[in-house]
């Protein structure tokens, strides 16, 4: 449904933020993973018509997004990282305002839309409270409510769970899962669990390029047999880092669990483990670093 062909973007100071990105994004939840500075937000802004790429084509259905951005905006829902407008306005008034700007002219239709959305995102009881008094999670739920005005067919959410506590994050992801069945939802994040919990398809970006693309299950399968694990002491960690390609480390009961990437059994007490999406992600980053 959403097609990106050879999309590149070079900022005026010469930074190449996107480098020949080509993606086909079908209906459903699509995860875009990558570290900070990978080009995810530039790509999100490009699809959301906030900036024009230096080259390439973006098509959504029969809409040429670059030539006809105003057309895409009539079916776009966008939740940016920073949703900071009119902070002294209540949630109800702000949604009503957005509904007008999205072309819902009839007051009765607007009332129905706003009330339904506030209930859907569980903000009905705080509808009269100013947005400036909202917590991070409430703001994000408000953000998704405004993105849903007008039944958009393309929804873009940029780093939506950053800074949310676990309960708020869980609630927000459930909400996204509900809406992501019949429309295209692009979820940009650096949190691997968000993608593994929600997305049918995903891509990993680094240095402005798409390094990996596919369904999480297929990508996990492709890494099977290449991830090895060992529990080491903290003092041993530096040596392990020198000898192996360490993907991740985490503490468990005071000791360090190390995951390494290797095509063969590295020996030395390492055991093979079932790869998770996090291993896929970190191995892609490692390969990208090696290639650079």
């Amino acid at each position: 449904m959403l097609e990106l062909r050879d999309v590149s973007h070079v900022y005026p100071k010469g930074t190449r933020a996107l480098d020949h990105v080509s993606l086909s994004i079908p209906r459903g939840m699509y995860g875009l993973l990558g570290p900070n500075g990978a080009g995810k937000s530039t790509l999100m802004r490009t699809i959301a018509t906030l900036q024009t790429p230096s080259e390439g084509t973006v098509l959504f259905g029969d809409i040429d997004v670059i030539r006809e951005p105003e057309k895409l905006r009539r079916t776009l829902g966008y939740l940016p990282q920073d949703f900071g407008v009119y902070p002294r306005v209540s949630a109800y008034d702000m949604l009503d305002h957005m509904a007008v700007l999205k072309g819902i002219a009839s007051p009765a239709d607007r009332k129905t839309t706003v009330e339904t959305l506030l209930q859907q995102v569980n903000l009905w009881t705080v509808r009269k409270k100013n947005l400036s008094g909202f917590s991070g999670g409430m703001r994000q739920r408000f953000g998704i409510a405004q993105a849903l005005i007008g039944n958009p067919e393309l929804i873009i959410v940029d780093e939506p769970t950053a800074g949310l506590d676990p309960e708020e994050r869980h609630r927000f992801l459930n909400l996204l899962a509900e809406i992501g069945e019949n429309v295209v939802v692009i979820l940009s994040t650096h949190i691997v669990e968000d993608v593994s919990d929600l997305c049918h398809r995903m891509a990993v970006m680094t240095d402005g390029r798409v390094q990996l693309e596919g369904s999480p299950q297929t990508l996990i399968q492709s890494t099977r047999g290449r991830i090895w694990m060992k529990v080491v002491d903290r003092a041993e960690l530096a040596r392990v880092r020198e000898q192996y390609e360490v993907l991740s480390t985490r503490l468990f009961a005071g000791r360090t669990v190390v995951h390494v990437l290797s095509d063969r059994d590295p020996g030395n007490g390492f055991t093979s483990v079932d790869a998770g999406l996090q291993d896929v992600y970190f191995s892609t980053l490692a390969q990208s670093r090696r290639a650079a």
Binding site: M1, E3, L59, E70, R74, Y78, R88, H97, L101, K102
Partner: protein, 250 residues
């Protein structure tokens, strides 16, 4: 090879009148706190003038122009203070033309400014009537045209420049320096002007133009000044709003 793409359902775009009304509503909401402060200031003013009248004083004894134009000039800074005017902003993803949205916000600010000026005038007139003050001491002290012009220029500054405060301070500094230099050199009879070809002729032209201007009736002077200031303000505003036109790669 290009595959046939399925059509996408598009919702309606907002009506221009709806966008303007919305901006008026939202701008009003955003200015509530400032309105409360202004009402409090008027309350204090009422108490001060009232106590003077009660004590047998005149209440109103000045016919100097009130600085509403200065307030109007800085009003757009207040109106736009939370908006990302140049950075890609969330509002740019809505199906409303950016220039129209900016112009609608300027108009919304103008509406609320005029409401404020009218309320202030009504307050001044009421107190003046109570105090028995002449009209020249009350609402005639409000320079309406200058207030409108100042609002247009202030809006143009805020909308047209990324760093209006810096430009304002820099411009004021340059004008101040020019004033000093101009003051030092503004004596056409002084010998230093003799070295600049055509200087005396230029000052003669300026002098004649000034004399012609002073011969015009007051109403003609007012009409011309109004036309020039408001015209220049609108032109500056148009240029500023044009900066917000969406640019695309074709």
């Amino acid at each position: 090879m290009t595959k046939a793409m399925p059509e996408v359902t598009l919702h309606a775009t907002p009506r221009w009148s709806d966008v303007v009304l919305e901006q008026v509503r939202v701008a009003g909401h955003g200015l509530r706190r400032e309105a409360i402060v202004a009402i409090a200031v008027l309350g204090v003013g009422t108490a001060m003038v009232g106590s003077e009248i009660v004590a047998g004083g005149p209440g109103f004894d000045s016919n100097e122009t009130l600085p509403t134009a200065l307030v109007a000039f800085f009003f757009p800074f207040l109106l736009w203070r939370h908006d990302k005017r140049f950075a890609p902003s969330f509002l740019w993803t809505l199906p409303v033309d950016r220039r129209r949205l900016a112009a609608a916000r300027v108009f919304a600010g103008f509406v609320w400014l005029m409401v404020a000026v009218a309320s202030f005038a009504a307050w001044l007139l009421t107190l003046g009537l109570v105090a028995g003050a002449p009209l020249a001491h009350t609402i005639l002290r409000i320079p309406v045209v200058a207030t409108v012009g100042a609002y247009l220029f202030g809006s143009a500054l805020v909308l047209g420049l990324r760093h209006p405060i810096r430009w304002l301070l820099g411009g004021s500094g340059v004008l101040f320096l020019l004033g000093i230099v101009g003051d030092a050199l503004s004596r056409p009879d002084d010998s230093e002007w003799a070295y600049i070809p055509g200087a005396h002729a230029f000052f003669e032209e300026v002098h004649q133009a000034m004399e012609l201007w002073l011969k015009l009736p007051d109403s003609a002077q007012w009409a011309m000044t109004t036309f020039l200031w408001l015209g220049a303000g609108l032109a500056a505003l148009w240029a500023a709003v044009t900066r917000h036109k969406e640019r695309r790669r074709h």
